[in-house]
Amino acid sequence: MRKVSFLFGLITCMSFSQNKQVLYGFSEIPQALLLNPGGEIKNDWYFGIPLLSHIHVKAGSSGVSVYDLFANDGIDFNGKLRNAVNKMKPTDFFTINQQLEMFSGGYAFGPSYEKNQYLSFGLYQETDLIAYFPKSIAVLALDGNANNINRPFQLNQINLSGEVLSVFHVGYNKKVDKDFTFGVRGKIYSSIANFNSTKNKGVFVTRTGENNFYNQIFNLDLEARTSGISSLIDDENSNFSNDIAALRKRILFGPNLGLGFDIGFTYNLTKQWKVDASLLDIGFISHRKDVKNYKIEGEYSFEGINPLFPETDTGQTSEDYWNDVGEAFEDLFEVKENANKYTTWRPVKFNASLNYAFGKKQSKDCNCLKEDLSYLNAVGMQFYAINRPKQPQLALTAYYYRQLFKSLRAKVTYTVDSYSFNNIGLGISAHLGGFNFYVLADNFLQYKNIYNAQSVSLQLGFNYIFNKNEN
């Protein structure tokens, strides 16, 4: 029973954020190599059409959908908001992830009879935001403390982080023998802007008091760290285009840099069975310049003020006493700023899959199977995990892949995540001569009312691919 509840807990934690389950393993699309540097490679060389080779957006909310709150159904908005707050847990979150590839390319090299090595490179920009739902703060804002005596309002529920960065990467892939391929990718991160507030502690609670009705306890330990933001806010000019220019400069080797790498492999168990796995974004960014951190730290227990018979220290007037109370509150809520450098770790992602290929193409000339043709179908299971501030988020996907015509490949996925057990994804990749276009999206069952989807994801892009063994 405990195992069952654990499994259920695991499944409810499952999520989608940054998961590109349709793209993973879709080896006709060159960008699949970014999800597993040790993936199979099916081209001799390629280049991405600049700024159009990979456009990815993903937004999600694990607790409520847009439709839950904003449906035009005549129900009072505040009632819907209250229902949403009651329904959501502090582990629910909102997230946005966006990527835009500036350029990318790759080419195979090695002995001319068998080019078994592949070098790929590129530069992409990424935005990643996650904000957990601070339930206790929402309840405090909705209800106040008067009817919540003795209820602690936990400040550690304030947990959010976000970053905009650019990533320059070079990857190396080697097919060691016919069964084993591995790859690594080195990355240089250039942080454009970063903020995070993930280590908050403390509590606000109103308890029944001794000397007065209540004992109001403030225990605050809040911190927010930012880099690359204060210079934009504090600068004298209000001209937005100057800020844009400043941001653009940071895309290539800005002031706050980091290093990281990806690793991965593919192993053919048999001709038809295949396993692969990858670890992505094992890396850090060191924030040294343009850093501004904010801290509120203090503890105070407030019983009210005692102006008539203050229990004062010797010689203290009641005026002094009153000033002390005022100062205590000012100290408590004083925001201290510093410029201490800090390091952030990129969210590490893990992918793994088990695949089975079947159904070779029938040759038209004779009623036999052509030996060198690859399989037309594949099915498999994929597992995905990402490390997040509160807890890792997981997803499990089953898929079916099919080569439809010589030039069209499609993949259908079914993913289990924290909101739904019915996330259907679909992707196609079209190849016309050297020209490749792909579009991938998920949560198709929700598309009859997109506002009711708790997450939506879309990737598309254009490449020019030179394939080996064109047939």
């Binding site: 035009n72 908005f77 106040g144 007065n212 009705f213 209540y214 008539l308 009153w322 079209a430 579009v439």
Partner: protein, 188 residues
């Protein structure tokens, strides 16, 4: 080649149509209706005084008074969002002497905007006698509260009962809290 291109583009366009898909009607303007109505409770003043506190320089201290500058009630957030306030007082008296508690609200110009008082009953047997008083601020009275920035608290020993000296038994305790009803956003 061209034919093929057209065919593929047609498939892709079809695919994109399924992506664009339907939406049911939503109304983001509803966010303008957002209105929070929290009820905030806070301690106000308190004291806990033995009877002997009312004896100084060999005579009864009939009146003890102090004023407190409170710039809370006329702050913008308070003025804009508080729609009702209640001040709740509770005294516990075990002195054989009745006391009057008076609270005055004064504005910037030291003009009195509001005053109220209540009596904490004497306790001839020195048992705890509990007296409560609730002052509700609504409408004009709430405006008077929002105009005030100074509160004068006066405790006065009433005549009758035991004399107050440095051996009078008992004590008087005052607790008080404010209950503030807030409405942010839409106020009809």
């Amino acid at each position: 080649m061209i034919k093929k291109l057209v065919k593929h583009i047609a498939i892709i366009v079809l695919f994109c149509f399924t992506i664009v898909s339907c939406t049911k009607e939503v109304d983001f303007d509803q966010a303008k209706d957002l209105s929070l109505e929290p009820i905030v409770a806070s301690n106000l003043v308190f004291f806990n005084a033995p009877a002997t506190n009312f004896f100084a320089n060999s005579s009864e201290l009939i009146t003890v008074r102090d004023s407190v500058i409170i710039d809370l009630f006329n702050r913008d957030f308070f003025v804009d969002n508080v729609v009702k306030a209640e001040f709740v007082f509770e005294t516990v008296n075990s002195i054989n002497r009745a006391f009057s508690i008076q609270v005055d609200f004064l504005d910037d110009a030291n003009q009195q905007r509001h005053t109220f008082s209540f009596t904490s009953l004497a306790s001839p047997t020195h048992a705890d006698i509990i007296t409560t008083h609730t002052e509700v601020f609504e409408n004009n009275l709430l405006d008077d509260l929002k105009a005030s920035n100074k509160v004068v608290l006066t405790i006065q020993a009433l005549s009758g009962g035991s004399p107050l000296n440095n051996s009078t038994p008992g004590r008087i305790q005052l607790k008080s809290k404010g209950i503030f009803y807030l409405t942010t956003g839409e106020i009809e």
